[in-house]
């Protein structure tokens, strides 16, 4: 039996996060690669771009201004409108 509890927050964020739909294939899809500007993130993403292109995806490259701060909202918007999926290169 489920328990129903009351939300103690201001309810400005969803109570549950719904996962985005997964891609069924890469062919013809646009994949964003986001470099957060940690050292050698570009090396990793270069490799990934090569593999994704081989599998028929087109790739767009993005970079955050700095890894110390969240991605600016404009950048997030750009990726969301231009890409079907995004891969973020975290850590170094």
């Amino acid at each position: 039996m489920t328990t129903v509890l009351l939300d103690p927050s201001s309810e400005t964020v969803p109570a549950e996060r719904v996962r985005a739909d997964r891609l069924e294939a890469l062919t013809g899809k646009t994949i964003g690669l986001l470099d957060i500007r940690k050292a050698r993130g570009d090396v990793f993403l270069d490799q990934l771009e090569e593999r994704l292109t081989e599998r028929g995806a087109s790739v767009l490259r993005y970079a955050k201004p700095t890894f110390t701060k969240p991605a600016p909202i404009d950048l997030r918007h750009e990726i969301a409108t231009q890409c079907d999926a995004v891969v973020e290169a975290l850590a170094d």
Partner: protein
């Protein structure tokens, strides 16, 4: 001979009508109901009688019974005891008798000589509709929920504590899960409507209703009777003067410190005595926590985000205590804010953890004042002046010294302000080998450690121990915060 509960309206919130005549409410698990069962059977011969039965639809014999095992009729007609008999005319209840009382039953039924073999009087039992284990759920079912908060479904295999931790809704300690029944019970602690907005809570500037305060108070572990204190504390915290946003965002250690005055302290069982700042008393421990949960959950004020404290202090989980007014030689704290002594108030002070002052030798006020002043002068650093207020908490063994000498609060505060005047030469940058300090312009002047109303006095603590304490404050005045005292209303 009996009908089922589904005969009544399908909308559980609609009050079911009663048939005209005599109406009785009984349960088999009540010796008085068993006792009067023959009386009801004989009454049924002389008058139109309907019996609502709460536990056993087959009880009692020989009467027109209605199954009220779902308690809808009993709840809506506010039956508090069984047996209860009513006289209903034109669909309206006109008379009511509780338990068995021959004279009352005869008068109500207009039938003489009822239950000749029975005692004159026999009290009844509690109605199942007011049974504490059922009442909250019945209230939800029959009054219809007026609560507006989003419902969060926790699956059977999910742990509700973990679900709340995962959503960032706790302070790192477990919470009492806020079920609708618990929140409704909490709301019984106030006469204010659940949808009334109490305050706009920083940093998100989110409107906070009485219902949201109640949800967080449940989570903190409060009892319903604490709710008015929590509501007043939320109101006080969210004033411009108290500036909870700044207090939250500061890198300094302070947080809201709550001091409760007035008869409500004793009514809700707060501890102003031994271990007053410590653990062990439910009201002391949960009221301050409820305020902090409101700031976290409704306001969005979370450590590491808008809360930028370098060190913080353990009291930021919740720091609330009452003043020992009864044992104090001084006027209570709330009179420093224009309230009459005896008024229920909560004072919010932007403060950090208490530091003990030890003096086991002083037997005269002057000597003790010097010790207090020493501690006060060193608050934060001796060179930090005027920008920070303080609460001085005097315990009973120390306050006795002032009582015996006939000192008032004003006498004590005046002397402390005199003794905390500092020599400007000791405060300038570089003085005493310390780089920190004031500009050279104070050289040759005396500088007060505290602004004129910067020392607040509270009496609290156990009866044994020659100790007092200071609770250092945070940046005072327009740019920072000032203590705010609010009346607690029901």
């Amino acid at each position: 001979m009996s009908s089922s509960p589904s005969d009544s309206s399908s909308d559980a919130t609609v009050k079911p009508p009663l048939p005209d005549g005599i109406v009785a409410f009984v349960k088999r698990d009540c010796p008085t109901c068993e006792l009067v069962a023959p009386v009801l059977a004989s009454l049924a011969k002389d008058a139109p009688l309907t019996v609502y039965t709460q536990d056993d639809p087959a009880f009692p014999d020989g009467v027109a019974r209605v199954d009220d095992t779902d308690l809808a009729v009993s709840w809506h007609h506010e039956i508090e005891a069984v047996p209860t008999i009513l006289r209903v005319e034109g669909g309206q209840e006109v008379e009511r008798a509780l338990g068995w009382h021959r004279g009352e039953w005869e008068a109500l039924a207009r039938v003489p000589d009822l239950g000749p073999g029975l005692p004159e009087l026999r009290p009844g039992c509690g109605s199942l509709s007011v049974d504490p284990s059922r009442a909250p759920e019945l209230a939800i079912r029959f009054s219809g929920s007026t609560l507006k908060a989003r419902r969060v479904e926790i699956a059977e295999l999910e742990d509700e504590q973990e679900a709340f931790f995962d959503r960032g809704w706790t302070d790192g300690l477990p919470i009492v899960p806020p079920t609708e029944a618990r929140v409704l019970r909490m709301l019984e602690g106030t006469t204010r409507a659940p949808d009334e907005v109490v305050a706009t809570v920083p940093p998100d500037l989110a409107p906070c209703t009485v219902e949201k305060v109640a949800i967080n108070a449940v989570m903190a572990g409060c009892k319903p009777e604490y709710l008015p204190v929590v509501i007043a504390a939320v109101e006080a915290a969210c004033t411009d003067v108290f500036n909870i946003h700044g207090l939250l965002a500061t890198t300094m250690s302070a947080g809201p410190v709550l001091v409760v005055n007035g008869p409500i302290r004793n009514a809700i069982g707060m501890n102003a005595g031994k271990n007053v700042f410590g653990q062990g008393n439910r009201a002391n421990s949960t009221i301050g926590r409820a305020l902090q949960l409101v700031i976290r959950n409704v306001g969005g004020g979370r450590p590491g985000e808008v809360d930028r404290a370098t060190l913080g202090n353990p009291g930021k989980v919740g720091f609330c205590f009452p003043e020992d007014e009864e044992g104090s030689p001084f006027e209570p704290l709330n009179t420093m804010f224009g309230f009459e002594a005896g008024t229920n108030t909560v004072t919010l002070f932007p403060g950090e953890g208490p530091r003990t002052i030890v003096d086991q030798i002083a037997r005269d006020p002057e000597s003790l004042c010097h010790v207090f002043a020493d501690a006060l002068r060193h608050m934060l650093t001796p060179k930090m002046v005027l920008a920070f207020d303080v609460i001085l908490v005097v315990s009973p063994e120390h306050s006795r010294i002032f009582r015996e000498a006939g000192w008032t609060r004003e006498d004590l505060l005046k002397r402390l302000h005199e003794l905390t005047l500092l020599d400007g030469d000791d405060l300038v940058r570089g003085a005493n080998g310390i780089a920190e300090g004031l500009p050279d312009s104070v050289r040759g002047n005396q500088v007060p450690k505290f602004r004129p109303d910067g020392i607040r006095l509270v009496h609290a603590g156990g009866g044994a121990g020659l100790f007092s304490a200071i609770i250092p404050g945070w940046a005072n005045g327009e740019m920072g915060s000032a203590p705010v005292c609010k009346a607690i209303t029901s």
